[in-house]
């Protein structure tokens, strides 16, 4: 499908060999068994990638990044996912790292970027607020200048991984302007400062990796601001443009579809036999597979050309809905096996329901968790507004 050059084919082989040989096997084993990863697991995974020079994906070479072409990045992402390796926690590596590299001061680059690559610091993203979700630009989190400091006040919400993070980057209002997208600055704070409190949010799948963070008169030096005052909206959009294909996760979708067939071969069907021979399941599975083929082709097209905002929005919808369709196949395949709600923090988690396949309890939690895909990163409804603005422009 994707015609790789000789160099790209060689690169793909290198990446595949790396995950088979030089990557922590316990992380892959836990992922395969549906056990939740710990922070230490992620550190182990990041260190292995960093040792190979492959953690700074999307970063320029001069700050320790890979400097990959979009195709190389795509090959890497796909191999990582197919290998059942840990998804790179995006907040530091994918989201803020490239912004620091592009717009940060020399001091910020020297301090923050190596700490990220060496897994000495984890970051959280402070974007959404209780009253600013889909309408992010209406955010109210404030940074008021006081001498050489800013005083931060407000609430950030849906902050994933804050319980593991050392730093947070926040969109903060530094002035009131005519357009609500203006007057927003990007300001960073260590999470252990006085006045910051982190409150975990338990989700419907039983996880509590998301948080609400309260800032009560938190003082940070002005040097914690990335780039110019009032320019954060512009920086965030530059980032979005660079990372608009990072949610594609084609490898993960292929991996999950293949896993469904493996599981189906172990699950009983009505009337004897196993579910991998059940026509209804197989047709539903094939339908999603066909959809994924078109989505993969779209991503490959997008790798080669500049893509419009509308195309990016369409791909976000297609990719996230496809991911949800795969989890839906999972709970449908599991049948009654989806019922037990088990705690997947321990290695022996599945023993709690010894007469039930461990597939169902993991599948139902994926299904529930992935409902968020069409909500975060710009909800499907917001993406449709973007696409419509483009269509309406065509009609004029």
């Amino acid at each position: 499908m994707l015609k790789l050059t000789a160099e790209e084919t060689a690169f793909q082989g290198e990446v595949r060999a790396f995950f088979a040989r030089d990557y922590p096997a316990h992380v892959i084993a836990k992922n395969r068994a549906g056990q939740r990863l710990t922070k230490q697991d992620h550190i182990d995974a990041q260190r292995a990638l960093h040792a190979r020079g492959w953690l700074g994906v999307g970063w320029p070479r001069e700050v320790g990044g890979t400097g990959w072409t979009p195709t190389e990045r795509y090959i890497f992402d796909q191999e990582l996912e197919l290998a059942h390796a840990a998804a790179i926690i995006p907040m530091a590596v994918i989201y803020i790292g490239p912004i620091i590299a592009a717009f940060g001061s020399d001091q910020q680059k020297a301090e923050w970027l190596p700490a990220i690559l060496e897994s000495r610091s984890f970051w959280a993203q402070g974007y959404s607020e209780p009253e600013a979700g889909s309408d992010l630009a209406s955010l109210r989190f404030s940074a008021v200048r006081d001498g050489d400091d800013y005083i931060l006040n407000g609430t950030k919400i849906w902050t994933s991984g804050a319980q593991w993070a050392d730093w947070i980057f926040c969109l903060a209002r530094t002035s009131r302007e005519e357009r609500k997208q203006q007057g927003i600055s990007l300001i960073c704070a260590p999470l252990d400062l006085a006045g910051i409190s982190v409150h975990p949010i338990r989700l419907i799948d039983g996880s509590d990796e998301l948080n609400r963070i309260e800032f009560d008169n938190v003082r940070v030096p002005v040097t914690n601001r990335i780039g110019d005052e009032g320019q954060a909206w512009h920086y965030a959009n530059v980032l979005l443009k660079n990372e608009r294909l990072s949610y594609a996760h084609i490898g993960a979708k292929k991996r999950d579809l293949a896993k469904l067939l493996e599981e189906a071969a172990r699950l009983p069907a009505n009337g004897g036999g196993m579910m991998d021979r059940d026509p209804s399941f197989r047709l539903a599975h094939a339908r999603v597979e066909a959809r994924l083929a078109a989505i993969e082709a779209s991503i490959l097209r997008a790798l080669r050309d500049e893509i419009s905002m509308a195309t990016a929005a369409a791909l976000k919808i297609a990719c996230t809905e496809c991911a949800q369709a795969i989890t839906e196949l999972g709970i449908d395949l599991a049948g009654r096996g989806r019922l037990p709600m088990l705690d997947r923090d321990r290695a022996d988690w599945a023993d709690a329901a010894p007469a039930t396949s461990s597939f169902g309890p993991a599948a139902v939690q994926s299904y529930l968790f992935e409902r968020a895909q069409t909500i975060y990163g710009g909800s499907t409804e917001v993406q449709k507004n973007i696409i419509w603005r483009s269509l309406a422009g065509m009609a004029r």
């Binding site: 989700l203 209804s280 019922l339 037990p340 007469a355 529930l368 909500i375």
Partner: protein, 337 residues
């Protein structure tokens, strides 16, 4: 089936609603005693009213389990249980999907009684039950029903946990578990028709419960989108979202009709009854899926939280979709496959 007047139905609904509104964590014995629901356990029309109210509040009560078991005991001429007792039926097994033909647990005669071997998966309320009915193969391979007392634990291992809807359940395993002669309920080797009918009766109650759940999901979504403001207005002001909620309403209406169809079909003989119940459940399953997904989506991030009731309603709906059979099983039954 008794015909209960509309006034009596309304009184029953009001009584259940009032009870569930004031009791925070209702327990079965108190619920059954205060409401005097003995008769409703055997009358599906009354049962449907109770189940719908349970759905509206998402009260974790084993109503359908107790009603189904009570009906089986009654039909088999076995001694009745007090209505305050918890009783459940354990039929599902690791090596079957939904068809009773796959049941592999066995009971063999030994001395004056029986010995039970096998495993049961995700048996609702089994650890809390005073009585569990177990399906097992006997003699000539026919299906039989056995009544067991989980307190007599020798040869029975029980692993309790909670299901996604917050109800208790357990996996059971029997190894040479001794039962007395009178543990056999109903005809030896002839329980399959009884089980088919018990399933249809349970499904009718779950369909009614789904109606209560789905109505609440829609009501809560309409209320939330009416107060949630983004882009300078309540998000319910956006036509795209209005139409989505209208689609939810359409599913709720068809679910309500389906639940009514299911209860009324219980008077019919087997093939017609099964087709009607399955038609109802195909619609119920579709409504549970669609309304549940949209309720979360329209609540945005808040819909993902354990704190809001939305997710809990969705998860109960996800359980009801498949407790006895899934939509594909029902479609196959309608099609006669």
């Amino acid at each position: 089936m008794n015909v209960v007047s509309e006034t009596e139905q309304a009184m029953l609904r009001d009584a259940v609603r009032a009870y569930l509104a004031r009791s925070g964590e209702p327990n079965w014995a108190d619920f059954a005693e205060r409401l005097g629901i003995g008769a409703a356990l055997l009358d599906a029309r009354q049962g449907a009213i109770i189940a719908e109210e349970i759905g509206r509040t998402r009260a974790p009560l084993p109503f359908a389990e107790v009603a189904t078991t009570t009906w089986l005991l009654d039909r088999c001429g076995a001694p009745a249980l007090p209505a305050t007792a918890i009783a459940t039926l354990a039929w599902a097994e690791p090596a079957l999907r939904y068809d009773f033909a796959g049941i592999a647990a066995t009971a063999r005669r030994e001395g004056g009684g029986w010995r039970l071997d096998g495993a049961k998966s995700v048996a609702g309320w089994a650890a809390e039950a005073d009585t569990i009915l177990i399906t097992a193969r006997t003699g000539d391979n026919g299906l039989s029903l056995f009544r067991i007392d989980p307190a007599k634990a020798e040869g029975l291992s029980l692993s309790p946990y909670h299901t996604i809807d917050g109800h208790p359940a357990a996996d059971l395993s029997f190894k040479n578990h001794a039962l007395s002669a009178d543990a056999l309920i109903g005809p030896e080797g002839g329980a399959i028709d009884l089980l088919d009918e018990a399933r249809d009766r349970a499904l009718a109650l779950f369909a009614a419960e789904a109606v209560g759940l789905l109505d609440r999901l829609l009501e809560q979504t309409v209320a939330y989108t009416g107060q949630r403001r983004q882009f300078g207005q309540p998000i319910a002001g956006f036509q795209a979202l209005q139409h989505r909620m209208v689609d939810m309403y359409l599913e709720c209406e068809l679910a309500r009709s389906s639940a009514w169809l299911a209860v009324e079909a219980l008077d019919q003989e087997a093939p017609g009854r099964g087709r009607a119940i399955s038609s109802a459940m195909v619609n119920i399953a579709r409504a549970c899926r669609f309304v549940g997904q949209q309720a979360i989506q329209l609540h945005g991030g808040m819909g993902m939280t354990d704190e809001l009731p939305i997710g809990h309603y969705v998860k109960r709906a996800m359980a009801i979709e498949i407790l006895w059979a899934d939509a594909d099983w029902h479609l196959a039954r309608i099609a006669g496959l």
